[in-house]
């Protein structure tokens, strides 16, 4: 074996550039593969993963302790894989101003510890409550980015009693809003008890979960089971939150995988093919065929192994922050990381791929006779290529250009690989730019619609914590202004352009079982940008018309043209659904209804200023920070904050797409680089001759670059439509998965100049990859080449 080792070492040393290229290509490809797989994994089932990590309950069942004893409950084990509970449960009102967090009724559960076999809570801050008066709140881990979260310590007032918040934990399954110790719960006299079940049977659908529940509750007294919730309810909610991004991420993942695999294959097999001559010489020296194969496997394995170890590390480092930033914000704070199997794929899969790519041509070399191999190593000859060269010889272009045009046809296989590499690179760049553009447009529209500044007067007890900032501190006060006075104040400050007032109220509607959320709007709402969000129908022009967010339309089975009868305080009014919109005013989806309707339905109602949310838009170039400061200066009891920020997840997707586009175009350029290095190596003798008959260095560069520009143009021309199709197909699919409709305008991101630029992208990728070896070719010392061949 030592001869093999020595020959491989010599081969590696003689092909430093190529060895380096193999190493670099494998490194970047492995990085891409790891990032792509992490992306695919995370986007395939983020909920399931986090759910499995927490051993989430398939069903949360609430029983009446008056009808059933704890012993009876624990005794029921039919079809149960694991169960937790019974835990005492009460519903306590979070008094307004009682502390941070949402107002309203909170479900409080008594539990001795956050672990167990079901619903393992992620206690990410503080400790579990042990003493009376201690409580843990259910909140997702904000990760490294705690902006927008309430301050660390604190107190809450629940049901009129003050509790010390000793920690924060997160239950993906939302089994409770807060937890206390069992002793504390006993003192609170629980009105119900909670059981958490994991079943052995089918849990894939809601009916299946209900069937499992029926089995476990069989034989219990009638009316013992008060309520039950299958985990699928939470899962669907999470799915609709992240659904919009999943297809984007998955597409990127797939693109990344394909490009990386194609290029590794191309580079490695090219390296072996280009050393056929060397193989012939080894054979002539008396190396056995098996030794020859071994030499070439060793030759590519050394750089490939180094590349894939470094690539796996780099990929993990690149993917981890993107994943945790992206998903933690959605409450999926556990189980989302670069899994072990991905490392295995990087460390074992990539070398296998490399070995296979090397093996196929190496086996061909194995079969070639020494003489065949020696001649196969010099410039290739194919009928097709020569015919094309011949036709080009008559074309009225400068000869270096026509020679370059013909070069790709000499090695069709390698050319196809290179075209595919560039094509996928261009597809990715096209798709990524389109996606970023669409997301930016969506968020611009949303920004415009949400105004630039949000304003809400304090109710005297609670202050609004704007996203990205800690809640305001200092003395709390109520504004003395009325609703209309606040609006006047806002309209009077410098730079203001438009102000909209929004008052949200659930309004009972005839024919609907639950009240519809209505946003009564007043002011400049029609010119604020909400119109741009229309996905169907038209904007409302009269008081008896309403525009409804598509999410609400789908949820309530509404369609354009429907009449809705709202009822408030015994008065009724009929509204016509006239338009569908992507997104409504901030907060839960609510239909737009003109404020006049409120006045008509409830003429006596005095809307308090703290019930109203004001949106402000400034004149072009207006200073948001200055306006916010001006509001605070004018009335310290009014909170104002900058709302013009991209959504976090959009930032994540744009981040991912930029990283992958960059990686893929680099890898594609390296693929081209490698192809040119190989072609130049093979064509050294021809290049030497061309130079000897007077081809200038510039003509050599022209020739080599032309040959790759052809490849780049082909890749560009094919890649752009592919990228556009991907964008056209995937973006609406993504929106649909998130159960929203998006305005057509955000898909219209392609314009002639952009497309021309994109077309150039392929050529640029190819030329960048080709430039260095082309210049190398131009500098070849002819005497040396001709001397050696």
């Amino acid at each position: 074996m030592s001869a093999v080792w020595r020959a491989s070492r010599a081969a590696v040393r003689r092909r430093r550039v190529q060895t380096f290229v193999i190493g670099l290509v494998v490194l970047l490809s492995t990085t891409t593969i790891v990032v792509a797989l992490a992306l695919l994994e995370a986007s395939s089932a983020p909920f399931d993963r986090a759910f499995a990590r927490q051993q989430g309950p398939h069903a949360i069942a609430v029983y009446d302790p008056a009808k059933v004893t704890d012993a009876q409950l624990t005794g029921q084990r039919t079809g149960v894989a694991a169960a937790a509970g019974p835990f005492g449960q009460v519903t306590l009102d979070l008094t307004e101003g009682g502390g941070p967090g949402p107002r309203g009724p909170l479900t409080v559960v008594g539990r001795a510890d956050p672990g167990g076999s079901v619903d393992r809570l992620n206690l990410w801050q503080g400790r579990w409550p042990t003493a009376a008066g201690e409580i843990v709140l259910n909140q997702p881990d904000p990760g490294a980015d705690p902006r927008g979260f309430p301050p660390d310590s604190g107190e809450v007032t629940l049901g009129g009693k003050r509790y010390t918040v000793v920690g924060r934990a997160h239950s993906l399954s939302q089994t409770a809003d807060a937890w206390v110790s069992p002793e504390q719960m006993t003192a609170l006299h629980p009105t119900s008890v909670q059981m958490l079940y994991r079943f052995t049977g089918d849990v894939s659908t809601k009916p299946a979960v209900h069937a499992d529940l029926a089995a476990v509750t069989a034989g219990l007294p009638a009316g013992a089971l008060i309520a039950a919730q299958p985990y699928l309810v939470v899962k669907e909610k999470v799915a609709s939150d992240i659904g919009v991004y999943v297809p984007f991420l998955a597409t990127f993942g797939m693109l990344g995988l394909i490009v990386a695999v194609v290029i590794v294959g191309n580079v490695v097999s090219g390296a072996v093919v280009s050393s056929f001559r060397h193989i012939g010489i080894l054979k002539a020296l008396g190396f056995t065929p098996r030794q020859v194969v071994a030499v070439h496997l060793v030759m590519v394995s050394v750089p490939a192994l180094i590349g894939c170890v470094l690539g796996t590390v780099a990929g993990t480092l690149a993917a981890q922050p993107l994943l945790s930033d992206g998903f933690a914000g959605l409450g999926l704070d556990v189980g989302i990381n670069v899994g072990v199997w991905i490392w295995v794929a990087g460390l074992v899969g990539v070398p296998t791929l490399v070995a296979l790519s090397a093996f196929v041509p190496a086996v061909r070399a194995h079969r070639l006779s020494a003489a065949q191999a020696i001649s196969a190593g010099s410039s290739p000859r194919t009928g097709h290529g020569t015919r094309i060269q011949r036709r080009l010889a008559g074309v009225r272009l400068s000869r270096p250009v026509t020679l370059g045009l013909g070069l790709p046809f000499a090695r069709p296989g390698r050319t196809v690989f290179t075209v595919v590499a560039v094509l996928l690179g261009v597809t990715t760049v096209t798709f990524a730019t389109g996606l970023a553009d669409t997301l930016t447009r969506i968020s611009t529209i949303e920004d415009r619609a949400s105004g630039q500044i949000g304003v809400r007067p304090s109710d005297g007890r609670t202050r609004i914590a704007p996203e990205g900032q800690l809640p305001p501190t200092g003395p709390q006060a109520t504004t003395t202004r009325t609703d209309t006075e606040v609006e006047q104040l806002l309209r009077g400050l410098p730079d203001v352009a438009r102000v909209t007032s929004v008052f949200r109220l659930p309004v009972p509607t005839i024919g609907q079982t639950q009240p519809l959320t209505v946003n009564f709007v007043r002011g400049d709402y029609s010119s604020m940008g909400y119109q741009d969000e229309l996905t169907a129908g038209r904007w409302m022009t009269r008081a008896d018309e309403t525009v409804v967010p598509s999410e609400l339309m789908r949820e309530r089975g509404l369609k354009i043209g429907d009449k809705l009868t709202l009822e408030l305080g015994g008065r009724r009014t009929v509204l016509t659904v006239i338009g569908e919109t992507m997104d409504g005013a901030p907060g839960p989806p609510g239909m737009f209804v003109d404020w006049r309707v409120l006045t008509e339905l409830a003429p006596d109602r005095a809307v308090k200023p703290h019930e109203v949310y004001y949106q402000v838009q400034l004149k072009r170039g207006g200073d948001v920070a200055a306006y916010v400061a001006a509001v605070k200066a004018a009335d310290p009891a009014i909170d104002a904050w900058d709302t013009s920020q991209l959504s976090d997840f959009a930032v994540t997707v744009i981040g991912f797409s930029s990283v992958l586009s960059l990686l893929l175009s680099t890898v594609a350029a390296l693929g081209v680089f490698n192809t040119v290095v190989l072609n130049v190596r093979e064509r050294r003798r021809d290049l030497g001759m061309l130079k000897s008959i007077g081809m200038t260095p510039r003509q050599v560069v022209t020739m080599v670059l032309t040959s790759m520009a052809v490849v780049g143009a082909a890749g560009g021309v094919l890649g752009i439509p592919l990228g556009i199709v991907a964008h056209r197909y995937i973006v609406p699919t993504a929106a649909d998965a998130a159960r929203i409709a998006i305005p057509h305008s955000v898909l219209e991101v392609w314009q002639a100049p952009t497309l021309a630029l994109m077309a150039l992208a392929g050529v640029v990728i190819a030329l960048l990859g080709a430039l260095v070896p082309a210049r190398g070719a131009a500098r070849l010392t002819i005497a040396e080449v001709l001397h050696n061949e």
Binding site: A393, K691, G694, P697
Partner: protein, 230 residues
Amino acid sequence: MTTDTCVVRLDKVRKEYGDTTALDGVSLEIRTGEAVAVMGPSGCGKSTMLNMIAGLDRPTSGSVRVHDEELSRLNETKLALFRRHRIGMIFQFFNLLDDLPAIDNVALAAQLTGTKAGPPRKRAMELLDELGIADRRNAYPAALSGGERQRVAVARALMNRPALLLADEPTGALDSRSGEQVMDLLLDLNQIGQTLLIVTHDERLATRCASRVVELADGRITRERSLERA
């Protein structure tokens, strides 16, 4: 001897490759219309000397003047243009482009200037005709015999009407019959005024074609003799 009649003038040319001294102070002049043969044992520096004259490589020291052009003063592009217009080269292993037929291989040398394919092809055709291989014009190098390939190479070298034709063992890869045909060709060319510099191991080729033989050993000129041509 005036400069106009002197095509090549080497002055104390030295060329080192690392520790190897390929040329060790060579001085030589070649006049217009002369046919000079360079002979010597393998590795004595013959090809190196040819490369210096063709501007394919640069000397470590000394001066190379061809047609009153000091080659060391030319940059790479100028050198390429110099080769294109002044020098024709013939190699032992032909160095034809495998994917072009004979005629395009010949025309190539002229097509590097300008974009018209027609006129160079016409001249290439004439040359092939003169060299007696017009009927093989559309054949690819792989389908040509060694002698035919070398004649295509000669045609290519003559394409731009070079002032100086350099041949590095032009018959080295040919059997004796083809070798002789190429020899005759070179002789004919010289007789119509083509200046020739031929590197060869072959005493017969030298005595037949050359009017002067320069012998090299270890990178130095050891002997020069004039020949009365038969």
